[in-house]
């Protein structure tokens, strides 16, 4: 087996591995859509973050781009551990309901999710592999994760689940970022997003958002929505 073959083989292996990890992340997004219990949602999210860390690490190894290890570390420590911890604390501290209020039933949500995945696959089909810094599959996976995150944000009434949706959306972004061959600034981007997330959590805590973050207070919702009617 010549070295060239090895590289090719390694290339195949690396791609397959990346796809595998991406698929796992996507599965977890579906899981998030499916889950009805808050704690489980949080746990699933932390798993997703950890798998993302794994994906980043793998990319760092394959592209031998050491800076990606940093974003892997961020994903692992901040998103995989700190954030879930904070969320659990919030849930306890604010006494948030443990069950997930859905605006759209689980079933329809799943169907919509599948539709989104199909859409993203359709979208990346015309992309010729050679012309992109990333395989179609990875791209499709990342895009699906992003769209599913958005879907979760709009089908969940519960504040924490919405934040989780936002964060899984962001996981999709990081997945795309680390997957892109030789993309600079990935670390900075993950840091920037961590700031956003932190602010979101801080906001939930600071504004005492118990149920839903589309209003600060149920009673207040009626009287004020931007302007007195």
């Amino acid at each position: 087996m010549t070295s060239a073959d090895q590289i090719v083989a390694l290339g195949h292996v690396s791609y397959d591995m990346a796809h595998l990890i991406g698929a796992v992340i996507l599965m977890m997004s579906f899981g998030l859509l499916y889950q009805r219990r808050l704690t489980a949602v949080i746990r699933l999210y932390s798993f997703q973050a950890m798998v993302l860390a794994l994906a980043a690490a793998w990319q760092a190894f394959v592209q031998d781009a050491p800076h990606l290890y940093a974003s892997a570390l961020i994903a692992l420590l901040f998103k995989g551990i700190a954030v879930p911890f904070a969320l659990n604390w919030l849930v306890r501290r604010l006494g948030i309901h443990r069950t997930v209020e859905t605006a759209l039933g689980i079933g329809p949500t799943m169907i919509a999710g599948v539709g989104l995945v199909a859409l993203s696959i359709v979208l990346v089909l015309p992309v010729t592999a050679s012309a992109a810094a990333m395989t179609r599959e990875n791209l499709a996976l990342a895009m699906s994760v992003v769209l599913l995150g958005l879907l979760m944000m709009i089908t969940r009434r519960n504040a924490v689940t919405q934040v989780v949706g936002f964060m899984s959306l962001e996981n999709g972004l990081i997945l795309a970022a680390v997957g892109a061959r030789g993309m600079p600034l990935v670390v900075e981007i993950s840091i920037a997003f961590s700031v956003l997330v932190a602010m979101a959590l801080f906001g939930i805590f600071f504004f005492r958002i118990r149920e839903r973050f589309d209003s600060l207070d149920i009673a207040y919702l009626e009287t004020f929505r931007g302007e007195r009617r």
Partner: protein, 668 residues
């Protein structure tokens, strides 16, 4: 270039007014300045018409406006003619303003804008590219809007201002698109390029339609007239005179510039359309006027009528030209322009008269006036002359132009198309009705306001107004007579203006002095001079006869009135009762006019009450309807303001998915 300096002068006066309007003297100074400048512009226009004839002064380019285009100005015979038609009344209004300007509610809101208004109107006339034209056009609307709002504490004036400005901007958008079509995608906005622009038939029709809409909304063509009777009366009278007598003419100028100069060939159908619209405006406008009790509103509505007459003539000109009847086309253009001058004259005269009445009595309501002729003789006489002129009585100028319009109208069926042949007589009926109604309308206006017995203390205590105002009214009165008595000079003058537009000049032989026989010697002729002379002769004869055959004894006595002898001035015929027969016949159909009389029960001393309700179907139907639609939609859209964040995210999500689907579909 004199006109340039004049424009600059107006601008300076405006700035001066903005700065120094706290001093009473400034107002007089500014109006005096406007008088001088406007007179100069008039002179310049006349000089240009006489000196240069058709060929235009080469365009002047100034380094502002659109960066790659710059600002083009040009003075050709058409502009020169309208310079005269605009600036002469403007000069009169300024003269009037010298005395009247300080009597308006808030002079500081009027004086600075007056010169700016004149500036804008003159700017429209000398503009030679679309940008300058529209900027001046809008400036015209803007300044007059602020002038309408000058007594802003009056809610009615504010409403008028709103309707006015919105309609004005509607018109501007129409013109904007028309110019856009003419300029093409490359944006050749100067008129020189537009003249040679090649357009598809569809584009041409669009241009014509938009031009009619755009200028018609400014000129007050039915059904775009709704703002006019609101806005014109709301402004101070010397401004109303300009808005009604002059600004509408600037709109006419825009139409002529677009349809006759920039667009050479326009299908006769458009002429027909203009004719019909004009007929509707003429008949409806004067009918509205007949129903009004407010003197200035009445005058404003009669402006709608006269604009209609001008449109009839212009439409005929287009139809004739399209059918190769160039001589007739020239004739109707001459008629139109003649009426432009006349209307500018007597309408400003009448509005100034109403201003004088307001200054003397503080009243605009006809039913609170009366008997002013004895207290304000000069104003009365001038107003009477104006009323006779606008009612087209020989030997005054109004008759001449209407006679010319009728002459060209009677030749309408020479355009051998069934639409014209059956349309023209109908238009003729409308115009004849308009003429007759106008006479009734002004008998009513003058008779109720100036004759009979005063109906209020204010009218009883009226005093004659100071001399500048009298002069400002007397001069146009004299001109109304002159333009009526020596029409041939005017028509020959106008013929030179018309020639470059229709490429034929009315043969001078046909217009030989003193016979005004436009079509041919046998087709009918009118010699105002001879009519006047023989009339004078007969008058002298009559005087002599009566003098020699009869006594000259005269006895003043209390009015006989079949022995009834009631002295209450309110027993006179009021404005409403005067128009009652016509209201019964037409009003109930056109305006759904309703009269309510509530009689007190026998024995009670309560007065009987008469109330009159008149609704403008166009206003309630078209404009209020539009408003209702907008309100309904606004209510629906307004829900977007009161959603939850999740809904907003949903909207984002859907937008994203939609766009992605678009891409997906496109990429397959």
């Amino acid at each position: 270039m004199i006109i340039g300096t004049v424009l600059g002068g107006f601008l300076c006066l405006g700035v001066l007014g903005l700065l120094g309007s706290s001093l009473a003297a400034t107002h007089r100074l500014i109006y005096a300045g406007c008088l001088v400048l406007a007179a100069t512009a008039t002179g310049d226009g006349l000089f240009h018409m006489i000196r240069y004839g058709q060929e235009a002064v080469p365009a002047v380019v100034l380094p502002f406006g659109l960066p790659w285009l710059k600002a083009h100005f040009r003075l050709d015979s058409l502009s020169a003619f309208f310079l005269v038609a605009v600036n002469f009344p403007a000069a009169l209004a300024s003269l009037f303003g010298i005395a009247y300007g300080s009597h308006v509610p808030e002079p500081r809101r009027v004086t600075p804008l007056f010169p700016l208004f004149l500036f804008a109107m003159n700017g429209v006339l000398v503009a030679d590219d679309a940008f300058v034209f529209l900027v001046s056009w809008e400036a015209m609307s803007l300044s007059s809007w602020l002038l309408v709002l000058s007594n802003h504490t009056d809610a009615a004036a504010r409403r008028a201002g709103l309707v006015y400005l919105v309609m004005a901007v509607f018109g501007t958008f129409c013109l904007l698109s028309a110019f856009g079509l003419l300029a093409g995608p490359t944006g050749a906005f100067d008129f020189a390029a537009m003249r040679v622009a090649k357009l598809s038939p569809l584009a041409t029709s669009l241009v014509v339609l938009l031009a009619i809409l755009g200028t018609g909304s400014k000129a007050g063509l039915v059904p775009l007239h709704a703002w006019l009777p609101l806005a014109h009366p709301a402004a101070p009278s010397h401004v109303s005179a300009l808005m009604s007598g002059v600004m509408t003419k600037v709109a006419i100028y825009g139409l002529i510039r677009l349809l006759y100069d920039l667009r050479g060939a326009v299908g006769w159908e458009w002429g027909f359309l203009m004719m019909v619209l004009g007929a509707a405006a003429a008949a409806l406008g004067v009918l509205y006027a007949l129903m009004q009790r407010d003197l200035k509103t009445l005058l404003a509505y009669s402006t709608v009528e006269n604009v209609g007459i001008i449109f009839i003539a212009l439409g005929l000109a287009i139809a004739f030209r399209d059918h190769g009847e160039v001589a007739l086309s020239a004739l109707s253009m001459v008629a139109a322009l003649y009426h432009v001058v006349n209307h500018a004259l007597f309408k400003s005269l009448l509005f100034l008269g109403s201003g004088a009445v307001m200054m003397a009595t503080g009243e605009r309501d006809l039913d609170r006036l009366g008997g002013l002729l004895n207290r304000m003789p000069v104003t009365g006489v001038c107003f009477l002359v104006g009323a006779c002129a606008i009612s087209a009585l020989p030997p005054l100028n109004g008759f001449v132009s209407e006679w010319l319009v009728f002459q060209s109208l009677f030749k309408g069926p020479t355009v051998a198309h069934w639409a014209m042949r059956f349309g023209v007589p109908v238009v003729g009926v409308a115009m004849a009705l308009a003429a007759a109604f106008a006479a009734t309308c002004f008998v009513r206006a003058f008779g109720v306001a100036f004759l009979g017995r005063p109906r209020s203390d204010a009218a009883r205590a009226a005093r004659e107004v100071p001399w500048p105002m009298l002069a400002a009214m007397a001069v146009p009165a004299v001109f109304c007579l002159c333009l009526g008595v020596f029409p041939v000079m005017v028509t020959t003058g106008i013929a030179t203006v018309v020639e470059p537009l229709v490429h034929v000049v009315l043969p001078a032989a046909v217009l030989g002095w003193p016979w005004l026989s436009p079509v041919s010697l046998t087709a009918g002729s009118y010699s105002a001079t001879m009519v006047l002379l023989s009339g004078a002769g007969l008058m002298i004869t009559t005087l002599l006869l009566v003098r020699h055959l009869g006594t000259r004894a005269i006895r003043r006595a209390p009015v006989w009135d079949c022995g009834h002898q009631e002295d209450i001035a309110n027993a006179q015929y009021s404005a409403d009762s005067f128009s009652q027969p016509l209201r019964r016949v037409f009003g109930q159909v056109v305006f759904r006019a309703r009269e309510e009389v509530e009689m007190p029960p026998p024995g009670s001393t309560a007065p009987a009450r008469f109330t009159l309700f008149i609704t403008d179907p166009l206003w309630t139907g078209l404009y209020l309807g539009l408003q209702r639609v907008i309100d309904a939609i606004a209510d629906r859209v307004n829900h977007l303001q009161f959603q939850t964040v999740r809904r907003y995210l949903l909207m984002m999500f859907l937008t994203l998915v939609l766009l992605l689907l678009v891409v997906a579909v496109r990429q397959q």
